[in-house]
């Protein structure tokens, strides 16, 4: 419980946290407003949920970065020394970071949904476009879970790699590039990459992707495996 409180304080006591959440809300609001406000009305009528739930990949990258900072700031700024002297049972620290990542992930997801639904759906409604409630709920659940898992992915990967720049670069490659490249060269493996699993979870229409549920499960599995590996590594490796 002490470690949890400490990790929460670490998160909320730096401006970067608020900056990332704020930037995500701003970009998301702008994107949702522009697409629903200026988009072709027929396209919007015909469109599925992906037409108005937009900017999700970018939002997930923001949440991933927030999670990665939670872990890697310790090594970037040398606070790992005091952290692990005060809490010698190091796996507790990683667990606390994952729990805080989960919490801030939920906050980020709720902010995203509030902005997107609040702005996007009201503009659509004012333009006379009726959105199917089931489709919308399904879409938002996928996006919300994706944002939470993206944040957890960042915490777990960061605890494994420690280096801040490396963690963010590896994360960006995994989320934005690797799966697309694999799919492009025709491999079936591509759909299991984090970025493609995220797209599936977000209900992106594509024949190449897993189902929404499977996408979520694959992404969650990544988080669990990386989280456990991060705990074992943190326990075993030296703090130098």
């Amino acid at each position: 419980m002490n470690a949890l409180k400490s990790e929460w304080l670490k998160l909320v006591s730096v401006r970067t946290t608020w900056g990332l959440l704020g930037a995500m809300v701003l970009i998301e609001g702008l994107a949702a407003g522009l697409v629903t406000g200026l988009g072709d009305i027929e396209d919007l009528r015909r469109g599925n949920v992906a037409t108005f739930i937009i900017g999700t990949h970018l939002a997930t990258v923001f949440m991933f970065t927030l999670g990665a900072l939670l872990s890697t700031n310790e090594f970037r700024h040398g606070t790992a020394n005091s952290t692990y002297v005060v809490t010698p049972k190091r796996e507790r620290v990683v667990l606390a970071k994952l729990a805080v990542g989960l919490a801030v992930g939920v906050v980020g997801a709720l902010l995203y949904i509030a902005v997107n639904a609040g702005l996007g759906l009201s503009i659509l409604s004012s333009r006379g476009v009726v959105v199917d409630a089931d489709t919308a709920v399904n879409g938002y659940v996928g996006v919300g879970v994706g944002l939470v898992l993206g944040c957890l992915f960042g915490v777990a990967l960061g605890s494994l790699l420690r280096n801040q720049v490396l963690t963010i670069i590896v994360g960006l490659v995994l989320f934005l590039l690797a799966g697309t490249v694999a799919l492009f060269i025709g491999s079936d493996v591509g759909r299991y990459f984090p970025g493609e699993a995220l797209l599936a979870l977000q209900n992106t229409p594509s024949v190449d992707l897993l189902s929404q549920t499977d996408g979520g499960l694959v992404l969650a599995a990544y988080c669990v495996v990386l989280g456990i590996a991060g705990m074992i590594f943190t326990r075993q490796r030296e703090i130098t």
Partner: protein
């Protein structure tokens, strides 16, 4: 029982031997200086004591136990390893609150230690605006949070101005006076010679000596400076007696090794040679320290 016991500690990083069969103890109620050039293994030894690195062999014990086995590590040891170990975007108070929370200590304790290190006026400022001296104070405040029995500070005087040095000296002497064991490392003896009661000197990861400051000086082999109008004659007599003599470029003076002041004076008197000056070379504790640790030759 010693508060800190290092027993035949060896730490190897690949090909590099950082600490080599090092043994020493640190007692309560004293300020012990842990001295050695940069790269001599001081920080690695402290990290081994704090459980942050694993010894390759040997033991590093706090109150007779490895750090990981302490029931209440925060109240046993307070450590400040590097004044830069703080997120620059956090305020000093927020930084301490994160540590206090992990240790299960109340926020009121944070304010107490901020007061002790005289940082209260700057407590809500972000650390990126702190001077080096303020960062050192913040690091000390973090180490004091748990009111620990042992304080371990790595280069706490680094970057301090003269007032800061005096302040640090006073607070460390006071803390040791309260019965704590205080271990402070430094690569510059003059920074700590007025603060420490005893010293552990290491070079290239090995123990060079452990003892009081007086013992550090006792092993002194400073040469004698002799000035005489019959220096050449005296030189011959001294060399015949087994001393080694070096000229300092002046005709009437010389440096004499391996002979005490008494022996030189007596020899001169026996031969009726007048002596104008007979004294030890002016050397400092620092010279002695450099002599022991190899004057930077151990830096890896």
């Amino acid at each position: 029982m010693a508060e800190i016991t290092v027993q035949r500690l060896t730490k190897r990083y690949g090909e590099t031997l950082a600490v080599d069969d090092l043994s020493f103890t640190v007692q309560a109620g004293r300020v012990t200086g842990f001295l050695g050039p940069n790269g001599s293994g001081k920080s690695t030894t402290m990290r081994a004591l704090l459980g942050l690195v694993r010894p390759t062999s040997g033991r590093a014990l706090i109150m007779g136990r490895p750090f990981a086995e302490l029931s209440d590590p925060v109240r046993a040891v307070g450590a400040a390893l590097d004044a830069h170990d703080v997120h620059p975007g956090r305020s000093g108070r927020a930084h301490l609150r994160t540590i206090a929370a992990a240790a299960g200590l109340p926020t009121s304790r944070v304010d107490e230690v901020l007061d002790m290190v005289e940082l209260t006026p700057a407590r809500d400022r972000r650390v990126k605006g702190y001077s080096m001296g303020m960062r050192q104070r913040l690091a000390l405040a973090a180490a004091l949070l748990g009111d620990p029995k042992i304080l371990m500070l790595d280069e706490p005087a680094n970057g301090l101005d003269p007032q800061g040095m005096r302040w640090l000296r006073d607070i460390l002497v006071r803390l040791a006076g309260e019965g704590r064991a205080v271990l402070i490392s430094s690569h510059v003896l003059s920074e700590v010679e007025q603060t420490v009661d005893s010293v552990v000197v290491i070079g290239a990861g090995r123990l060079v000596m452990q003892g009081s400051l007086a013992e550090l000086v006792k092993g002194d082999r400073r040469p004698a400076l002799v000035r005489s109008p019959r220096a050449a004659e005296l030189r011959e007599l001294l060399e015949d007696a087994g001393a080694s003599v070096a000229s300092d470029g002046r005709r009437d003076s010389m440096h004499v090794h391996n002979a005490s002041l008494e022996e030189i004076g007596t020899l001169a008197a026996d031969h009726g040679i007048p002596i104008f000056e007979l004294t030890h070379e002016v050397t400092t504790l620092e010279d002695r320290f450099l002599e022991l640790t190899g004057e930077g030759g151990n830096v890896r």
